[in-house]
Amino acid sequence: MKRLSLLAVAMLVFASSAAAADWKVSVDDRYDSLYAQLKDNNSYQAHLAREFASVAVEEKMQHDIGVAKAFMDKAEEHAAQAGSMK
């Protein structure tokens, strides 16, 4: 039983720290990629994408990884729409 509880605690720690580390990189990378993709694009959709991406980074800094991901998803949706509006 002790082993089981140890395993459970280990999983909890891993789930939060590993996932957080993973998303820290991921959100940053996605942010950089999105900014490069939208360079010189001043359409409404491009502005929306950049604004959502900024909030995503802000949320990531506050360790709200799930929300950061959701905002980044939204940013990328708008970036995709902005692609054809440049």
């Binding site: 039983m1 089981l4 509880s5 395993l7 459970a8 605690v9 999983m11 909890l12 891993f14 789930a15 939060s16 996932a19 957080a20 998303w23 001043n42 359409s43 409404y44 491009a46 502005h47 929306l48 950049r50 604004e51 959502f52 900024s54 909030v55 709200d64 990884i65 799930g66 929300v67 950061a68 991901k69 959701a70 905002f71 939204k74």
Partner: protein, 214 residues
Amino acid sequence: MKRIFLLAACTAMTACTGHIASTQISELDEARAMIQQAKDAGAEKCAPALQAKAVVKMYHAAHEITDEVGSHPDENAELLADALATAKKAYVKAKKGCAKPVLEVIRLEGVFFETNSAKLTVASMAVLDNAVKTLQKRADINVEVAAHTDSKGKAAYNLGLSNRRATSVMNYFLGHGIKAARLTSQGYGETQPRADNSTVEGRAKNRRVSLRVK
């Protein structure tokens, strides 16, 4: 213990999930209405950066307001006020930027002058009499009499000729009771052709007078 294990497993699986809160909450009514007003005024086209900022601030505010963890009423109020203020700015900018006045031009077809002169032909006066009636009916408009030439001859000469012709038409209106305060005149020479100057027909179209409503 099984419960702890279950909790750990669930946490591991759901650590990466998240969602954006709905903006359909009463706290955002004012900001949402202002964003819609700005959109209707053309903000997405005329003030895209501001409008996008306002929209995302609203989403951010919605998230913070509905976030059950670590609620900060002061910060939420600030986010709300920010979203509303940005939407107002987008609206004001859109109103200024999108509502450009459409310039109305009244073409005076059939107004001619003697060759190389600003003297109106007799036939032209009938056309100008109709224009006088229009100006009398539409007493709320001011107009610029704009005269144009074709490109034959020197540009400077054409500019001077068009200025004299515009003045000649304006004087006709003044002589028929139109107030001076409503009239200005401007010659444009050959600078604004409407047709091809290499053909007789094109040059005839380019020699013209019109009224630009201000």
